[in-house]
């Protein structure tokens, strides 16, 4: 019964894609432990999410449709996930290394007295399960082992590709008996409404840095992103300066992304930014300073003033019918 439990993440009645990548990790892990992959969906009105999760490549979907779980609270989800993990004999409990997974899984680990690995990028077995994880802003990789029978893992989802859609796995209702905390209240979620793809899902990302000098100047970044059906990102410096919302932040303390094409515009390339984007397939850097560290990781560099070349690039791509 060395099963692997994946905690599903969902928003507005849809399974988030990071969960599919987490299932891919879980399948690899289950192949090593000889167990099954079970996905746990907690929420209310979650029928659609359960259906999506059943096609993720998992062996089974477990769910509890309850008003207790309408809004996510670690205080309710934590004990519930721990209970289900014990009930199914899970030796690995995992979730995406998103703000949801980062908030929830340490609580689960404490409830289970389990060791925890954040941001796992690999799993293998060489006489014991091993995990790889980055630290020091991605400048160091460590191989770690967890000495407790149950291992709790957040998964760096950019390292795992979602499995092809499978025939629906069986689903089963569970009852965790969690009654709901009176020490914490969800007040609201203010979603940034955007027609653009999510940063962690985007094929193309155009990111701007402090060199853009103002929030208004992010307009040209958005224009190029929209032309390429991409997402908009920002460096921590740009977020700190108030030019861009925190949700756009890419780097050690923001999001980790790995699109096909990444434009770093007026971003110098601090270590902590590189930590979030150096897994991108093709990197283009545009910066006036030829010495900027971003050029050390870029496939193509253009030493130029972003205010001149970004609009030019957008116009020329439009003219080419891109």
């Amino acid at each position: 019964m060395a099963n692997v439990l994946v905690v599903a993440e969902h928003l507005n009645g849809q399974l988030r894609k990071v969960t599919n990548a987490t299932v891919a990790f879980a399948k690899q892990a289950a192949g090593l432990t000889g167990g099954q992959v079970h996905v746990l969906v907690l929420g209310s009105g979650i029928g659609g999410v359960v259906e999506e999760a059943a096609k993720s490549g998992a062996d089974k979907v477990l769910f509890e449709d309850s008003a207790v779980f309408t809004n996510y609270l670690a205080e309710n989800h934590g004990p519930a996930v721990a209970k289900v993990a014990q009930d199914i004999g899970a030796t690995i409990v995992c979730a995406a290394s998103s703000t949801f997974g980062k908030d929830l899984l340490p609580a689960v680990a404490a409830h289970l007295s389990a060791g925890m690995v954040s941001d796992a990028t690999k799993v293998w077995d060489d006489g014991g399960l091993k995990f790889m994880r980055p630290l020091w802003a991605g400048n160091v990789l460590t191989t770690v082992e967890v000495t407790t029978p149950v291992k709790v893992i957040t998964v760096r989802t950019t390292e795992f590709d979602a499995l092809p859609e499978s025939g629906p796995a069986p689903s089963e209702a569970v009852a965790t008996g969690v009654g709901g905390t009176d020490a914490a209240e969800f007040v609201n979620f203010d979603q940034v409404k955007s027609e653009r793809p999510e940063l962690t899902d985007a094929d193309v990302i155009v990111a701007g840095g402090r060199g853009l000098k103002s929030a208004e100047n992010f307009g040209m970044i958005m224009e190029l992103a929209d032309l390429l059906s991409g997402a908009v990102g920002a460096s921590r410096a740009a977020v700190d300066s108030g030019y861009a919302p925190n949700d756009w932040q890419i780097g050690q303390t923001g999001k980790v992304v790995a699109p096909n094409l990444y434009f770093a515009v007026a971003i110098s390339g601090a270590i902590q930014h590189l930590a979030g984007m150096k897994g991108s397939k093709t990197i283009v850097a545009i910066n006036t300073n030829a010495e900027a560290p971003i050029f050390q990781v870029a496939d193509y560099g253009l030493v130029a003033d972003a205010f001149a070349v970004v609009p030019e690039l957008t116009e020329k791509l439009k003219a080419l019918g891109v």
Binding site: K102, D103, D190, D247, I283
Partner: protein
């Protein structure tokens, strides 16, 4: 109000980390250390809470004896007294949380404000584990914090936007970037800090076995990306993106 805040001594994040040739750790010779940057936000917020509500700020560190420097920095910023739980052991977040839980039981603070993650180990676990061990509520990734009537209202940075959560105190808040602007220690602050109480104890004193549940077996450097090439014009950039990288 009694406020507890935590600091970790970390390698200076602006310095390049070097790995020992045998992969057993990082090179520590000549390395400079400072307070974890997220803890600066936590300490600042603790001091702001004291300014607004009165009370006491206790700053705690778990780590080697040299961590007294980071505690003194927090005292110089305005914290009232320090506690060092001294250990040279390699700690996972679980061990840190179990130590902090015992300190909290002794100190009985009304609120605990911590950095959301340390910029060396990048784990982002200790605050949440501490909350679970104590049975306290948690509000992570805070960009705003207000305390009234025994509850904290916390604006949180989450994927896809922001969220607001209320927690009943005592509870744990972990700080994200926009929470405040950490102050610099003033010269009088630094002088005063030297006379502020700093208590040292060990995990043994607290009855905590700090054996980690996660063991690091090997350190290595990631494969470095090779620098590509400089293009001269937008036309050339479009040409290579279309025909060479086939990215557009």
């Amino acid at each position: 109000m009694k406020i507890l805040t935590t600091v970790k001594r970390v390698t200076d994040p602006d310095m390049k980390v070097k790995i020992k040739p045998d992969g057993t750790g990082i090179v520590t010779d000549g390395v400079e250390y400072k307070m974890n940057s997220f803890d600066e936000y936590g300490v600042e917020e603790a001091i702001v809470l004291k300014q607004n509500h009165g009370g006491e700020v206790v700053v705690v560190s778990v780590g080697p004896s040299a961590s007294t420097k980071e505690i003194r920095t927090a005292l110089a910023m305005g914290a009232d007294r320090g506690i060092l739980v001294e250990t040279d052991a390699e700690l996972d977040s679980d061990a840190v949380a179990r130590v902090l839980a015992e300190v909290v039981k002794k100190e009985q603070p009304d609120i605990i404000v911590m950095g959301k993650q340390a910029v060396d180990s990048d784990r982002n676990q200790a605050g949440q584990m501490l909350a679970a061990y104590l049975g306290y509520p948690q509000a992570t990734f805070a960009y705003s914090l207000e305390v009234a009537d025994g509850w904290a209202t916390v604006g949180r940075e989450v994927d896809g936007g922001t969220s607001t959560k209320r927690i009943k105190l005592p509870g744990i808040v972990t700080a994200d970037l926009r929470l405040n602007e950490p102050r610099y220690a003033s010269l009088p602050g630094i002088m005063k800090a030297k006379r502020k109480p700093l208590e040292t104890m060990t995990p043994d004193d607290l009855g905590v076995d700090v054996t980690s549940k996660v063991r690091v077996i090997k350190y290595e450097a990631p494969e470095e990306r090779q620098a590509g090439r400089i293009v001269e014009t937008v036309d050339e950039l479009i040409e290579v993106l279309r025909n060479e990288a086939k990215a557009i």
